[in-house]
């Protein structure tokens, strides 16, 4: 079966969740690297963090937002390659919530012509 690419969008709620301690960060770092190693064949692009703020461009020009809803922030993205949505879900499900605690990930298949 041909592989599909999936865009994974990580969302989090600003200010929610306790800050991890340095010891917990180290644990997250190790877990995340183990996860990255395990799925290295499926991760097409590690993507990255998205900085806060930005511009919305429409036919009326560029404005500062608002983005979706103020209580929800897109924190980062990456691209995963998988044979099915189920497989993509599995890759994401196993990833330690390293970006921000209490965040969720939206997975969208990227359509190929």
């Amino acid at each position: 079966m041909p592989k599909q690419s999936y865009l994974c969008i990580q969302r989090s709620q600003p200010g929610k969740g306790a800050k991890p301690s340095p010891a917990q960060m180290q644990e997250m770092y190790a877990k995340f690297n183990a996860w990255k190693e395990k799925f290295k064949d499926k991760i097409v692009d590690m993507g990255g963090q998205l900085k806060a703020g930005g511009k919305i461009v429409s036919s009326e020009g560029a404005t500062d937002g608002p983005f979706v809803e103020a209580k929800e922030v897109i924190g980062g993205f990456m691209i995963v390659s998988a044979e099915s949505m189920e497989e993509a879900i599995e890759v994401v499900r196993q990833s330690p919530g390293v970006w921000r605690p209490e965040s969720s990930v939206e997975i969208r298949e990227i359509s190929t012509p």
């Binding site: 991890p20 301690s21 770092y29 590690m46 390293v98």
Partner: protein
Amino acid sequence: MSTPRLVEHFFRHEYGRLVATLSRRAGVQHIEAVEDAVQSALMTALETWTIAGLPDNPSGWLFRVAHNHLMGELRQRTARRRILEQNAEEDIGTPENGPEIFLAGEVRDDLLRMLFVCCNEAIPLESQLVFALKSLCGFDIREIALRLFTSEANAYKRLGRARSHLRKHPPRPADLAGEQYSSRLPAVNKILYLLFTEGYLSSHAEMAIRRELCNEAIRLAAILAEHPVGQTPETFALLALMHLHAARMAARQDGSGGLLLLEEQNRELWDRQGIQVGLEWLAKSAQGDGFSRYHAEAGIAAEHCLAPSFQETRWDRVVECYSLLERIAPSAIHKLNRAVAVAEWQGPAAGLDVLEGFEPPTWLAGSYLWAAVLADLHRRCGNAQAAMRYRDVAFESAPTPAVKELLRRRLRTGSPG
């Protein structure tokens, strides 16, 4: 896409180093802003390094990011308050100075300086301890509360006391020069001792957690002993006793996490190398004519480490050390320990004689230790009734199931022996 591993406790120890260095540059009164900046820098590192991999010099990278966070924050505050007397930018230097500060010596000095800053008799001892665990060891409040068996609210209150004192009376560089260091050394030794015993003596079943406190105490004490200010017999003796106790730690627990009595421990499990290190520090501590409580305690620990078996322990020497300890640092607990050692040396009746007519202070009288020792000595003397009475008290006041189980084995009824 290989991901190099970070050394153990990298984040936690970087936290301590960065807080110490940035506090020196910005002033301890800004400790909260410093800690926030360091926390943010570590978080940024976690997010960046997991995606882009480790930078060439992770410590330098962290310093630059934390430094920039802090500068931004302090500049904002300065602007907000329009206070120009403390020009943060000049105080803390430029980030280009970053790599140079990672000369081992200077980081070591920053850590030490922080240790001396927090060991200030104007700050309650328990607050000093929490402050050191937070700022120097990089534990957060939850982790500290867990390790000190207190509530988060209480740990936070203790931290607050230390911080508010330092905010109101920030030490000037001159406050911590030569003589000041020496005069605060006993307080520094004491806090390290306390940190160690919190880990070692706690009845908490979680071995790994306790061990961490002991390791932190040893780490900081070793840094202290490397510096001229810490090169004193007391600090050497302190390190000796830490290593000698730590060497026996692994053998203090059975396979399922229960505590083992000294006589039940498998001496094969003792860490011979650790004992060797401890004995070397002990030899080094035997200079000058000062004999501190740390010398006495290290002496006791050494006797146990050197004894081939429980029965072959040189109890006369242990008793002697306890007598010295009682004289230097009078405490009912030392008397109680001496009674135990005397009982091993000259029999249970002699042990009871030590405690004859002694009124224990309430904190000891109500503890399981006091009741357990009396129950044991009476049992071995054949005083069944007294033994039972004390045994019930000991069971009742045992703080954890592990201690209760240990008491059950030790104080089992039956023939004296």
